[in-house]
């Protein structure tokens, strides 16, 4: 079941490209991820803005706060980064935890499980054959990263010159 898009009252709209992926996410029962991306884009970005104003003693420069829309490249960044953080990274977190905690607790056979409240039944988290699929997605996301593959690896945007 897909979730409805967030309220339409906020100022800015996603590009057609981002909207395409929002629909894919919602059709895949991942509406909560689509909602996060869309809300983020609709709220725009807030940054300091210098303005010139006429005062009693003439023109003066002040720094105020302004909100503006994300440009298409920034919207793509938000989308790709969000997909990466939700699809590609969590299995790595879980693998790290499964590697470290048994060692730290001096219990090599220690197993870890996540259960619902009031339950003892472990919740399935990731399918066994996930690694290959994630690697494919990771490579595709790197190709789509608007600032290039090398900066994708470091989760960074443009080089600061």
């Amino acid at each position: 079941m897909s979730s409805p898009p967030p309220d339409d009252h906020i100022t800015f709209r996603p590009t057609d490209e981002v909207s395409f992926f929002l629909k894919v996410l919602r059709d895949s029962e991942l509406g909560w991820i689509a909602d996060e991306v869309e809300l983020n884009i609709r709220e725009g970005k807030t940054a300091p803005k210098e303005i010139m104003e006429m005062g009693a003693r003439g023109r003066r420069r002040t720094t105020e706060s302004a909100t503006s829309p994300y440009d298409p490249e920034e919207q793509l960044r938000i989308l790709i980064r969000t997909i990466r953080h939700y699809f590609v990274e969590p299995p790595k977190l879980w693998a790290e935890v499964q590697l470290q905690l048994p060692r730290l607790a001096n219990s090599p056979n220690l197993t870890l499980s996540v259960v619902r409240p009031e339950s003892e039944q472990p919740e399935p988290l990731f399918p066994d054959n996930l690694a290959g699929d994630l690697s494919t997605l990771d490579v595709l996301l790197a190709q789509a990263w608007p600032y290039g593959v090398e900066l994708y690896e470091r989760d960074e945007e443009r080089e600061v010159k």
Binding site: L30, V37, A105, V114, E118, L125, L140
Partner: protein, 219 residues
């Protein structure tokens, strides 16, 4: 983005979306991040020379450490998760996840990751009561997001922080937020942002920060 790449990514999202239960809700992904931060805390304590062992919610040694997708009361085994027992310099503590603890106002708050005095935890289990903030040695609020952190999380953390008078408390996230950084540090709080598998150096720095702080607080 060219059409072929767009289609390929969409196909992968659709395929992984239906086959990955961990993606069913934000709560599951956040739980994984909490457990990851708990592991960082365990690493820091081990670095200091502490002896750690896994216990179940009934306080018995276990080979299956259970975490719960919801907050738990320490004295109710069906709602409480397992925990890590810590022995350090002749004293004992517990690393807990999703534990509900009384703040200064006597209101219960869920702590994502915390370190509590062992004797307080035992007393609470025995008497079926809730732990109090005065016996918490460390707390971390853990936030896992896609690209940016809603400012409201910073406000929530400030409120929680006021309720707990301990020295080592922090908001941790896989990403960063200038606004929340400004908000938290203005009120003399501590953030640890960008702690994620993408940035291994930040994980090491976080563990080191924890170890340094714990060394001073635990003696």
């Amino acid at each position: 983005m060219e059409g072929q790449l767009q289609t390929a990514i969409a196909d992968e999202i659709s395929r992984l979306g239906v086959s990955t239960p961990a993606l069913m809700s934000r709560a599951r992904v956040e739980k994984l991040y909490e457990i990851f931060i708990l592991t960082c805390l365990a690493r820091a304590l081990r670095q200091l020379g502490a002896i750690l062992s896994a216990r179940n919610s009934s306080d018995r040694a276990t080979s299956n450490l259970v975490f719960r997708l919801g907050p738990g009361l320490i004295w109710a085994p069906t709602s409480a998760p397992g925990f890590i027992h810590v022995a350090y310099k002749g004293r004992e503590y517990e690393i807990q996840n999703g534990l509900r603890v009384l703040g200064q106002s006597k209101v219960l708050h869920e702590l994502d990751v915390s370190l509590i005095d062992r004797d307080e935890a035992v007393r609470c289990r025995r008497n079926q009561i809730n732990p109090t903030q005065a016996r918490i040695k460390f707390l971390a609020e853990c936030k896992y997001y896609g690209d940016s952190l809603p400012l409201g999380l910073g406000r929530e953390y400030l409120g929680l922080s006021k309720e707990f008078s301990l020295r080592i408390k922090t908001i941790v996230s896989n990403i960063s937020s200038d606004e929340i950084h400004n908000l938290v540090t203005k009120h003399k709080g501590t953030e640890n942002f960008d702690v994620s598998m993408i940035r291994p150096n930040n994980i090491e720095q976080f563990v080191q920060w924890l170890a340094n702080e714990l060394r001073q607080v635990l003696g």
